[in-house]
């Protein structure tokens, strides 16, 4: 080895090799554990099957709460969970099915839930309010309109799919 070629010194070479091998071992150890931990993030989004919710003849122009239960599989825990929607027919006889989940911080809104506002949806947590069409009342905490369920009707029955944000 000529002394003029300042290539890699013995010390540097050892440093690089040891760091490389050590890093490889650490990565080999951590990779499965990290993949294990982040698994929930990488699961595909649920498809949201349509569920039978109500008979069309029961739906009026006044928002009514309809409940239905789904079988929920939460990892190793299976249970029946009750879902709700506020459903009514608007002036054009179109069905509107609104999610009861407040767009402020996720509490449960009720139609005419406040005596002072009998024609609005009301959230008891922070006095959030929405008009009948689900649009948030300006000046109350929510910053967006209530989510609207995708729906279809078949043989006089209303089926609801996933609740989608407005304009999505």
């Amino acid at each position: 080895m000529s002394e003029k070629k300042q290539q890699v010194s013995r010390r540097q070479f050892l440093n690089y090799t040891l760091t490389g091998v050590g890093g490889f071992m650490a990565a080999g150890m951590l990779a499965p554990m990290v993949r294990f931990a982040i698994d929930p993030v990488l699961q595909p989004a649920s498809t949201g099957d349509y569920q039978a919710v109500a008979q069309l003849e029961d739906i009026t122009n006044e928002p009514q709460r309809f409940d239905w239960t789904i079988d929920q599989i939460d990892a190793w825990y299976e249970s029946e969970v009750t879902k709700s929607a506020w459903v009514y027919k608007d002036d054009n006889d179109e069905i509107i099915a609104l999610s009861p989940v407040c767009k402020h911080l996720g509490c449960f809104v009720s139609w005419a839930g406040s005596d002072e506002h009998p024609d609005q949806f009301y959230c008891p947590c922070h006095d959030g309010r929405y008009y009948k069409d689900g649009v948030n009342v300006p000046g109350t905490p929510p910053a967006a309109a209530l989510d609207e369920f995708e729906y279809k009707t078949e043989d006089g029955t209303l089926y609801l799919g996933k609740a989608k944000p407005r304009g999505a």
Binding site: M33, F36, A37, A75
Partner: protein
């Protein structure tokens, strides 16, 4: 960039001597396998530590899915092993590592014993080492119950029977461990879980710290 951050911190709190104390020390010729291959026997202590680190990490990750409850313990283990990506590997690391760490600990103990490295002035560190061995056995014992399958259940029944055999305080010891004088169940599982993930690891860390500080203070024993 990293150098700048390091310098910034070092300028204020002077960390260089700190990590020098930890990382910078002579490795004597007689413990260096590159010099004399039979010196590989000196690796067992370090390997024990390495496997212990794997146990701590894999255990931490396992608790992301595991529940210490008689209804759900087995189901959660089954779920994390069959449904979660790499679950079988992570549980496998913890399962096999538990055995490997005992083997390494035993080999390390044999080396220290047959080299007479426990003799004065290192008797205290031998005692600490033996305590670490007991803690490790305790970790193995308590961890064995956690999957809550048949093998785990009956192994624990046997353990509790043995504990009951202690003269005078046997029955009390059994109740203390099982959480109930008759049932091996809900309270046994939560107790073993708490002991496995909080109490014994805390004791282990304290003892390991003492073990390492003593080694650094007294140095590795000389060649035979």
């Amino acid at each position: 960039m990293l150098q700048k951050i390091y310098d910034w911190v070092d300028e204020r709190v002077d960390i260089t001597p700190l990590w020098r104390d930890i990382a910078d020390h002579e490795v004597p010729e007689h413990v260096n396998p590159a010099h004399n291959f039979s010196a590989f026997v000196y690796c067992f202590g370090g390997l024990t530590f390495f496997v212990t680190v794997i146990q701590i990490l894999s255990g931490m990750f396992l608790t992301m899915y595991y529940v210490p409850d008689i209804e759900n313990a087995w189901k959660s283990v089954y779920y994390l092993q069959t449904e979660v990506a790499h679950g079988q590997i992570v549980r496998g690391m913890h399962h096999w590592g538990a055995s490997v760490v005992i083997v390494m600990l035993f080999l390390h103990t044999l080396r220290v014993f047959f080299q007479g490295a426990y003799k004065k002035p290192r008797e205290l560190n031998w005692i600490v080492g033996v305590l670490i061995f007991f803690i490790m056995l305790g970790l193995g014992l308590t961890g064995y119950l956690l999957p809550w399958d048949n093998k785990a259940y009956f192994a624990t029944v046997v353990t509790l029977e043995i504990a009951e055999g202690i003269p005078i305080v046997g029955e009390m010891t059994k109740t203390l461990l099982a959480g109930n004088p008759e049932i091996v169940g809900a309270q046994t599982l939560t107790r073993f879980f708490a002991i496995h993930v909080f109490f014994l690891p805390a004791a282990l860390f304290a003892l390991m710290a003492v073990h390492f500080i003593l080694i650094r203070k007294q140095g590795i024993s000389g060649p035979m």
